[in-house]
């Protein structure tokens, strides 16, 4: 006899009480793994760039290799960050309205900054 109180359909869907399954967990780990090489590359670059002036910073930023890796680092970093901030907000903010507003806000901020970084990076790289 099946001792699980969940229905077979519920088990097959695997969405649980939050109705979103392991999506949040999985995306957090996926972005974490992606960020390991990106952050190491970025940390080394940052140390090497320390004290760089306008011209040096721009010449570094305009390399296609740097553009790709930097846009990836910022966008995946923002995605990973907003997932983490969402958990922090869900843990500590108990007013439903404020909680929802904050979660919406961090998602909007992440998209806005991601696009801003991408456009700025391309403007430098493509000579705007």
């Amino acid at each position: 006899m099946n001792s699980d109180l969940r229905s077979p359909l519920n088990r097959a869907r695997g969405l649980g009480s939050a109705k979103s399954g392991v999506h949040h967990f999985w995306m957090q780990r996926l972005t974490a793994v992606a960020l390991i090489p990106l952050v190491i590359w970025f940390a080394v670059s940052l140390v090497m760039l320390s004290g760089a002036d306008y011209g040096m910073a721009r010449s570094w930023l305009s390399s296609p290799f740097v553009m790709v890796l930097l846009i990836l680092t910022i966008c995946i970093g923002l995605y990973h960050g907003q997932l983490g901030m969402q958990v922090v907000i869900e843990d500590y903010v108990h007013n439903e309205g404020v909680k929802l507003a904050l979660i919406v806000a961090i998602k909007f901020i992440a998209v806005f900054f991601g696009l801003a970084a991408t456009v700025a990076s391309m403007r430098i790289g493509f000579g705007g």
Binding site: A43, V47, G84, A120, S121
Partner: protein
Amino acid sequence: MSVANRPVHRPLSPHLQVYRPQLTSTLSILHRATGIALSLGVLYLTVWVVCAAGSYETYARFQAFNSSIVGRLVLGGWLFCMFYHLFNGIRHLFWDMGYGFEIKDAYRSGWIVVAVSLVATAISWIVGLRLI
């Protein structure tokens, strides 16, 4: 208000301050704290790229803050957060795969993360500030 809806003042579980701080709990809290700091750091990184895409004067204003004492401390602090969150994040990924749950292993990996983060931060400061 009905009896069922009346708030019940049940005893709460002991608050954090009654526990002796342990390496494992401290590092767990630090992981979250550095994560929050880095969420702001990636926004600041975006501001850097946007300023670099702007005029020389815009970038100079931004760099003036970065090379100030406060700016250096903030950037250096972010660097530590980045290394700590990176290495402790790798520790978390091993836990996710089911490794390192024994108390002894959790302490050993914790101290390794602390040591590697501090060494990486120190090397970055020394090389970044061109001290050698």
